[in-house]
């Protein structure tokens, strides 16, 4: 059984078709990327998968259940929305305790999970500072762990690295890779190619609400990267500009 099964999903806003006959599946333990430009329909798709939006047509099945609004199913889904969903006037710890309590966590279990989340996001030292005093990267990391507090097996991450510095982005990547190693199912939306390339087992490239291609990164390259050509040249190995940046400024989180 697949962790996520999307079949012929459709959603329109007036004359604008945001999602058009979309179908894909995500296997258990797989990291699946929805890659597309802004306005491709990625966030609308996530909204319908988690039950925040009602589809005009088609169906969604998560963990074998077709009604994502059922509380029992929501307990098994973790979401990091694209928009920062945090209370700016509360501290990180207060945000985590509040969102944890909505998932039925309490007492020792809640305290344990809050500690884990603070540690996982590298915010333990700033736990008692209000979120409004955090940098963009810190808020993104907190936004991510707020969706992981209840230890869900299925995780939906909607552009989790928007607007963060390379250190925080790297920390988020490492967090996601750890979640992958733990065997969780991850649906990851982004418009950064290198993120999809680094993190995702399979990638669906979307535009205008439709999937244009869906496969492993390697297969997509083979299929759409043009004919293979034998080119003889000398390869000088060197890093990317991001490697240079991280080398000069360090990999340590700055906030």
């Amino acid at each position: 059984m697949n962790a996520i099964d999307v079949a012929s999903l459709r959603k329109s806003y007036g004359s604008l078709t945001a999602v058009d006959d979309l179908s894909f599946t995500v296997a258990r333990g797989e990291t699946f990327g929805l890659l597309g430009p802004n306005g491709a329909g990625k966030t609308t798709t996530i909204g319908m998968i988690v039950g925040a939006l009602s589809p005009d047509g088609g169906s969604v099945t998560v963990d074998g259940e077709s009604d994502p609004t059922r509380p029992a199913l929501r307990q098994r889904i973790g979401v990091a929305p694209q928009a920062l969903a945090l209370y700016q006037d509360l501290t990180a710890e207060e945000n985590l305790r509040f969102f944890g309590s909505l998932y039925g966590l309490s007492g020792g279990r809640l305290a344990e999970r809050v500690l884990w989340a603070l540690d996982f996001s590298g915010l333990a030292e700033r736990r008692r500072d209000r979120v409004s005093a955090y940098s963009g990267g810190m808020q993104r990391r907190l936004n991510l762990v707020c969706g992981l507090l209840h230890d869900p097996p299925v995780i939906l991450l909607d552009e989790p690295t928007v607007g963060v510095d390379p250190q925080s982005r790297n920390a988020i990547f490492e967090s996601i890779e750890q979640l992958k190693r733990e065997g969780r199912t991850i649906l990851y939306t982004t418009h950064y190619m290198e993120e999809a390339e680094r993190l995702c087992d399979r990638v669906a490239i979307m535009d205008r609400g439709k999937i244009l291609a869906l496969d492993t990164v390697e297969a997509l390259l083979r299929a759409h990267g043009g004919p293979e050509r034998a080119v003889s040249h000398v390869t000088i190995e060197r890093g990317t500009l991001e490697d240079v940046f991280l080398h000069l400024t360090g990999r340590m989180l700055r906030d």
Binding site: A72, L84, A85, L90, L102, G104, G147
Partner: protein, 432 residues
């Protein structure tokens, strides 16, 4: 239920951390009440107590006591008959009356039987005023007695009067009469010496004060008579302005939470609430509970300030509790409706304040209900602010019983329930 409490606790915490919101909810209503109360003559009135003085004794001593009381800066004293004084206190026009009954002068207000001495009439709920009056009257009795002795002639006149009554009293034995007669004659001699030396004031004053203070009869013959006030009107301007100012506390809470619902929607936290394993009704119930508790706390706080700092007196605490709870519920419902008036904080705030200002202007939030002309009172029937203010006034100074209060509470509760149902349905429908 835990989730609802968690949402309510979070919203209350956010309210407490927003100083601007807190000012509108708590500070502004108190400022309004103080401002309008003071310009309406509320300030300073409590410092001078209006009282009536009844002199049924009509002796030199009783006149001296009256003079002492009238000279007190703490009192605004007017002379009246006993019946008239009792009526004025019962109507709440005066705080108390002091009656110097026949025979007071003979005993200097000390000793004597139950028909003589001094009577203080005051409402039993005015415990502070009662004790204050007791202190003022006792001081006046001592000072007048001291003055009588110190003035020589007045004191000797009283001694001669006492000697004459003693001689005429056939109920006393000859031995007792002789002892008392000798004592009074010695005192008369002593005072005649003082008169001739002109040194009365200092030592006699001290002697008079001391002797009166340690009077063997056990102190002044003071009786406090309970005169229950009829509660027929506000006793100070603050009893009008504080109930009116609760409108601003309710409006502040209402607007703060209505805007917070819309703000959550645009910042994304509402999405996270909706993705949690709780129903939409629970999310809105949590918001409503927070608004209700905040309204309860804000109105209670404003009235507490009125009671403790501005001497607003609550006629019926149970009715007041019912009025506060019903008003808070009503404005929770209004809050849910206001939250549906726009899709951005600015639009909700603009539309909400426009409605609230009209409701407040016509409902007694700006012009007190008691001061409205007849036509405006009819218009105010359409404002829910009126019923919130009226319910609190009913428990504070209008003297409402349950039969008068229940219709007002029914209107508040019905409007609140309608607001909660309509607001919740519209907000839920908007989520789809």
């Amino acid at each position: 239920m835990n989730a609802i409490w968690a949402i309510a606790a979070k919203d209350l915490r956010l309210l407490l951390r927003d100083k601007a919101d807190l000012f509108w909810v708590l500070g502004f209503p108190i400022l309004i009440a103080f401002f309008f109360g003071s310009i309406s003559g509320g300030g300073g009135k409590r410092a001078v107590m209006p009282v009536a003085i009844v002199d049924q004794d009509q002796t030199a001593y009783s006149r001296a006591v009256v003079k002492q009381l009238r000279s007190s800066e703490a009192l605004r004293a007017e002379e009246a008959s006993l019946d008239s004084a009792r009526l004025l206190v019962r109507r709440g026009d005066l705080v108390a009356y002091v009656a110097l009954l026949p025979g007071t002068g003979e005993s200097f207000g000390f000793g004597g039987d139950s028909t003589s001495g001094v009577e203080i009439g005051v409402d039993p709920r005015r415990t502070a005023e009662r004790e204050y009056m007791r202190g003022l009257v006792t001081a006046a009795l001592f000072q007048s007695m001291q003055g009588s002795y110190a003035s020589g002639g007045g004191g000797r006149e009283m001694i001669q009067g006492s000697l004459e009554r003693l001689r005429a009293d056939t109920t006393l034995g000859a031995e007792v009469r002789g002892q008392r007669s000798r004592l009074l004659q010695s005192l008369d001699q002593f005072m005649s010496v003082l008169d001739s030396t002109g040194g009365a004031a200092g030592p006699i004053a001290a002697a008079g004060g001391s002797s009166a203070g340690g009077n063997a009869s056990g102190g002044p013959n003071l009786r406090v008579v309970e005169i229950a006030e009829e509660d027929s009107g506000p006793r100070s301007a603050y009893e009008v302005t504080f109930p009116s100012s609760i409108a601003w506390a309710l409006i502040g809470v209402c607007m703060s939470f209505a805007v917070s619902i819309v703000y959550e929607r645009i910042t994304g936290t509402f999405l996270r609430l909706r993705l949690a394993p709780i129903s939409r009704s629970q999310v809105l119930a949590g918001k409503g509970l927070a608004a209700f508790l905040a309204a309860l706390a804000a109105v209670s706080f404003v009235l507490l300030i009125g009671v403790t700092a501005f001497h607003v007196r609550v006629s019926n605490p149970l009715l007041l509790a019912a009025a506060i709870a019903s008003s808070a519920f009503c404005f929770t419902g209004i809050m849910m409706i206001v939250a549906t008036l726009g899709r951005t904080p600015a639009s909700v705030s603009g539309a909400g304040w426009a409605i609230m200002m009209i409701m407040s202007m016509t409902g007694g939030g700006m012009v007190p209900l008691i001061a409205m002309p007849a036509w405006m009172q009819r218009v105010s029937d359409f404002s829910l602010v009126k019923y919130a203010v009226l319910s609190v006034e009913g428990a504070v100074w209008r003297g409402f019983g349950w039969s008068e209060m229940l219709p007002v509470l029914a209107i508040l509760l019905s409007a609140g329930a309608a607001g909660v149902v309509i607001g919740t349905r519209v907000l839920q429908a908007r989520d789809h």
